[in-house]
Amino acid sequence: MLDFPLWKRISLWAVTLVLAVLAVPSILSMTGADRPQWIEDAPHINLGLDLAGGSHILLEADPAQVAEQRLETMEESVIQLMGDADPEIQFSELNTLGGQVSFMLEDAADIDRAREELLPIINGTGLVAEWQLEVIDGRRIVLTQTEQGIDNAVDDAMESATEVVRRRIDALGTREPTIIRQGDNRIVVQVPGLEDPEALKALLGETANLEFKLVSPRRQNEMTEEAARADPLPGTEIVPYAEDTVYAGSVLVVNRLGGISGESLTGAQQGFSPDTNEPVVNIQFDPQGGATFARLSTENVGRRFAIILDDEVISAPNFNEPILGGSAQISGSFTVESANNLAIQLRSGALPVDLTVIEERTVGPDLGRDSIIKGGIAMGIGSLLVILLMIASYGRFGLYSTAALVLNVLMILGIMAFMNTTLTLPGIAGFVLTVGAAVDANVLINERIREERRRGRRVIAAVETGYKEASRAIYDANITNFIAGVLLFLFGSGPVRGFAVVLIIGLFTSVFTAVTLTRMWVAGWLKAKRPSDLTI
């Protein structure tokens, strides 16, 4: 029980000191306003927004919208696939009603060919069918979305939405943003130090879905929506002008297919037009998009094409000459700022779903800093009082307990830094509880040694029994708290989890420091001095 061979002593000290040293960058980063580079590089604890100030936003996507979009894509795929078949498969009555895409083959004999064309999309990439195909009366094909298909689509949409959000926020240039996907259809965004979340939300609210579509050759000019609707052209769609453009209120008729989507974009920057000196957005395409753009512009010189952002026309210039270099310029009624914002949105690509803000918290940085300073001072006073009481009550043993307590705090911070966790206000409650438990462990041991001495045990026997008997209750108490901590982590939400993480880490370190470290020190002292009596 009191036997500590050299290797054991060395390894215990090594573990303690390494973990304690890991805490140093975190402590320095919390006290100083300016953080030197080496602290940024070293693992350190981040302060939660409730302590450091900043913005927290919880975004949610609506799975129904994803399902709806999936239907539309399917509708277009049907047109494409039936057209690509050789010979072309004739069909009619294509519609998307009640979560289904259905269409009628002109010739019932085409049914097997149609099924074959559709097969790759229906099966998707996974093992489960993404769509369910039914044939009614031998000629009507009905495609129904499967649960699994919708789930996969939501999952994909959220993956890429998270990526888009990340890129957009990175473009804002703020420090250390956290962007995490949460649950099935949510994204948490935390930006420390950002006091005004409006810019952030404005940036996130935009879907920035850019498309280039040819203006229908038969309707080259702006017109009113009524006029366009009165005489619909097959294969076209009606797109309104954006509100801040000159033609606001009128619409353009554009070809539905054959355009270029924003996905082919590789770059976008704000610049100035060499002719008018107005702010513009310069864009670059990937090779494939560039080739399509070159072909489109070559084949359609003299015709207009519409630049469509989020289903609104922002400008509709002419192809004056073939554009072959894979880059183009978007002009419109831009200010430098709006051109820059558009560039960011284009660079980061389109959000595949609309995201709604369902929770938002902003804490001013003054309040946060104030909290840390006040909290630090209060904890300092509290710790000092505890240390005095411990030493006054248990003498040398109190001193060991105190040293163990200090190392315990450092080790918790060190592990948290190593795991790159975030310290929040509830985390501080977890801290208070663990330190309380660590003090309790020491008190239990010391009181038990007192008791054993009183019963007449000799020094070494009293210390050994003290540790042995007290350890049982200490382990039981810590294991139960550990179970509670794990459950809280599993079932709890944000702040409760912050509490649980500190609690779990603290339970390990406090047992280690309060039981093992102090025992090693006491054993060392007993061996060296061989005291005949204990002051405890």
Partner: protein, 325 residues
């Protein structure tokens, strides 16, 4: 060197003598707490109620004009706003409920928060906005649910572990003591209408953790004494166990208490509710370990046979099977 001893070396206080009256009082308190929670309700913060909360500081004033604010913001048409002092006398937190449907509209809730701040700033100069929180009703509902589940599952798992490590009576006792602590804390929050937020859930968890520590220490000693003094009547044995651990109980409660007091008085305003709840919990938790968790063992019928090593029981059954007894 003379060391400080807060509790005399040997004490012989008859704690258990008062177990029936204390139990009656405690059960009445638990009932009263739940009655308060159910009738008066908890003053849910924005986390659990949903809605919009802003915190502002009137920089140039000594004290926030709460009465004027109430009138002024009541006119906005979002019903009676909840206005509470927050930390310094010149800081307040203001909560308005969202109108029906606003939580489904993106940005609507935040816009209301901005409207509140603008309204205040139009009347009073030098108002600093410290924080702004919006929680939709949906998320608030989820917070309520996960917090409840987390608490329930944690308590049940704890009881199960104690049942395995000790005996079922101890598991029930610990669960009852925890139920007592949580009930009284909730009752206190309902009585004083203190803001009940996710942070307070963290505080209640800390209370559970602390109370549990206490209960286990007492139980461990009871278990030890049950093995040691096989003939001692249970009430006497419980008294002995509580007395033997009394020095530790006093010392631990005191250290935690003096560590928390500075945090309560000098700590940041945002921690006040949290720390106040834990301080309260230290008292309630200590009391429940002695007066709730220990006496219930008498009524649940713990005997010195409870901790007879298992092989003896097995042996005895074997003997019985062989017809030797």
């Amino acid at each position: 060197m003379k060391l400080l001893k807060l509790v005399p070396e040997t004490t012989n206080i008859k704690f258990l003598k008062w177990r029936v009256p204390f139990y009656i009082v405690s059960i009445l308190l638990i009932a009263a707490s739940w009655a308060l929670v159910l009738t008066k309700g908890l003053n849910y913060g924005v986390d659990f109620a949903g809605g919009q909360e802003v915190r502002v500081t009137f920089v140039e004033r000594e004290e926030a004009p709460i009465v004027e604010l109430r009138d002024q913001l009541g006119d906005l048409g979002y019903g009676e706003p909840t206005i509470q002092r927050f930390g310094d006398p010149n800081s307040v937190s203001i909560r308005v409920r969202l109108p029906e449907g606003a939580e489904d509209q993106p940005g609507a809730a935040t816009a209301i928060g901005e409207e509140v701040v603008r309204t205040i700033q139009s009347e009073f100069e030098n108002v600093r906005q410290d924080a702004n929180e919006t929680v939709s009703g949906k998320v608030a509902g989820e917070f309520r649910q996960t917090a409840l589940y987390a608490l329930l599952f944690a308590m049940l798992a704890i009881a199960a572990y104690i049942w395995i490590r000790f005996e079922w009576q101890f598991g029930v006792g610990a669960l009852f003591a925890l139920f007592h602590d949580v009930s009284l804390t909730l009752g206190m929050f309902a009585l004083f209408q203190l803001e009940f937020s996710l942070q307070i859930i963290a505080a209640i968890l800390a209370i559970i953790g602390y109370s549990l520590n206490d209960t286990i220490v007492v139980y461990d000693r009871i278990r030890e004494n049950l093995k040691k003094f096989r003939k001692m009547p249970l009430p006497e044995l419980l008294d002995l166990s509580v007395n033997e651990t009394l020095a530790r109980t006093v010392m631990t409660s005191l250290t935690l208490f003096i560590a928390l007091l500075p945090l309560l008085f000098f700590g940041p305003a945002s921690l006040f509710g949290l720390v106040a709840a834990i301080v309260l919990g230290v008292f309630v938790g200590t009391y429940s370990s002695v007066y709730m968790a220990a006496p219930i063992l008498i009524w649940l019928g713990v005997t010195s046979d409870s901790f007879v090593p298992e092989e003896t029981i097995a042996d005895r059954q074997e003997k019985k099977a062989r017809g030797e007894i």
